[in-house]
Every structure is written in C-alpha cells, then in structure tokens.
C-alpha cells in the first residue's frame, strides 16, 4: 500500500464519517460544520487527483460561501437556539433502505465495468492544467457556451434569491 493510498483512505473515511454526521446529527449548526469537514475532505481528494484549482475553488465557494450561508440560514430559521423534536421524519428507515439499495446498485453496476480497475497514467511533468482549464472555459472550441449559461444561471439565481428572500414589510426600499 503506497503513501497515496493511505492518504486517500484516511481522507475518504474522514469524509464519509463527516457526511454521516451531517445527515444524522441533531444539532443543525453542527451538521453544517460537519458538512464543512466533509467538503474539506472532498477538497483534499481533489488535491490527490491533481485538480488543484478545483480544490481551492471548493474551499472558496463551498466553505467560504455555501457553508456560511447554511449556518446563517439555520440561525435565521430558529426562534430559539435549541433543537427540539425529532430530526428524522417517520419514514427515515425507508430512506435508509433506499440509500443502501442505491449504494448496492451502484456498486453492483460498477463491478461489471471493465474501466473500474484502471489506474491513472503518471501526471505529465510541466502540464499547466490551469491554463488549459482557462482556455477550455472560454474558447469557442471549448466550453464557452455551457460556461456562459452557467453564469446566466448564477445571475438569475442571484436575482431570484434576493427577490424571494426580500421581506417587503420591513424592507427599507419603500421610498
């Protein structure tokens, strides 16, 4: 077992454990913080995969913005700061069964695939993945259209979110 495998296993188990805590812990702020841990684990996975840019963007976008938004939302939607009542709905056991079934099904499907045991070729020395990625994102021969569509989606989401969450009763825009 090489060092990389050990690192991967440690990261994977930490991430999965954090993921489990996200969906099971009673305290929602803790759940959000566990989510941060899980997302950080994923970021480390990206580093192992040599996708440095993705790793940093993962930290910036997910941890720096999305997780913080979650914590804000959790705090804004609780009248007092304690969690009461059950955190699982009454069908949770069925959800668990379905999740296990999904995992089993995916595992089963993957097993039959010949690309499964593939190992990566060594990472090319001096390969500048970031310039490649930048070019791919904005060159007409690459993915400029999906990229632009994604940016339009972001703007739409931004406007929509502001509109939906804006409370006209105590908003200060009433001129």
């Amino acid at each position: 077992m090489t060092g990389e495998q050990i690192v991967f296993l440690v990261v994977a188990f930490v991430t999965l454990f954090a993921g489990l805590m996200v969906v099971t812990t009673r305290n929602l702020v803790h759940a959000a913080l566990w989510l941060v841990a899980a997302l950080f684990g994923v970021a480390v996975t990206y580093v192992i995969l040599h996708a440095n840019f993705l790793a940093v963007v993962q930290v910036v976008v997910y941890i720096g913005a999305i997780a913080i938004l979650f914590i804000f939302a959790v705090m804004l939607t609780r009248r007092d700061m304690r969690d009461q009542g059950p955190q699982m709905n009454k069908n949770w056991w069925f959800g668990a069964v379905l999740a296990v079934l999904t995992f089993g099904g995916l595992y089963f499907l993957l097993q039959g695939w010949e690309g499964m045991t593939k190992t990566a070729t060594s990472y090319p020395v001096g390969f500048d993945a970031i310039s490649e990625l930048g070019n791919a994102l904005v060159s007409p021969a690459g993915y400029v259209l999906p990229f632009e569509v994604a940016s339009v989606l972001l703007v739409a989401a931004l406007v929509g979110a502001v509109y939906v969450a804006f409370n006209p009763r105590n908003g200060n825009s009433g001129k």
């Binding site: 969906v23 059950p86 490649e132 990625l133 791919a136 994102l137 979110a161």
Partner: protein, 102 residues
C-alpha cells in the same frame, strides 16, 4: 496508485449518504445539506474521470466548475425559499409545508 474504483465507490457512498439525508431529515435546511453532499460526490466522479482519462481533455474539470455554479445557485435559491417559507409559516419542517397538495 489509487485505482479508479476507489474513487467511484467513495463517491457512490457519499452520494448514498447525501440521499439518505435528503430522504430522511425533517428540516428543509438539512435536506439542502444532503443535496450538497450528493453534488459533491458527482464532482468527485468528474474530477476522477478527468484524471484517469486524458488529462488534456478538460471536460471533467469544466463540468465540475459548472456544478459548483449550479450548487451555488441552488443553495442561494433554496435557502431564500426556506427563509421565505419560514417567514410566512414559522416552520422549516418539510413535512409541514404541504399546503399545495390538492
């Protein structure tokens, strides 16, 4: 070297965990947390396929980035909806938000 299967199984497991969260949590915010886990597992797959295929083809990373954008949009709109619902209904329990059933 880590074989591709490890990544795929890791992602599948994370996906299932996220799905369990989506299916079972009562709190709408927690459901969104589960969705984030599922999206992340997809991204792991995308990055892994990029690395294990031809690294000069950037489709995997490009789409991982687009998933980031979609996730950000989804969280923004989702949380705005949750807050908006909370404001009018004083609850964020998904089961109690069932006004529109009939």
């Amino acid at each position: 070297m880590v074989p591709l299967s490890w990544y795929l199984i890791f992602a599948a497991a994370l996906f299932s965990i996220g799905m369990f969260g989506v299916l079972s949590r009562r709190n709408a915010v927690a459901i969104l947390l589960g969705i984030e886990l599922m999206l992340n597992s997809v991204n792991i797959n995308l990055a892994a396929f990029w690395r294990y295929g031809d690294v000069h083809l950037m489709a995997g990373q490009v789409f991982a980035i687009i998933v980031f954008a979609v996730a950000a949009a989804e969280v923004a709109v989702g949380l705005a909806l949750v807050i908006s619902v909370y404001r009018s209904r004083r609850t964020v329990v998904a089961d109690e938000i069932d006004m529109m059933k009939w």
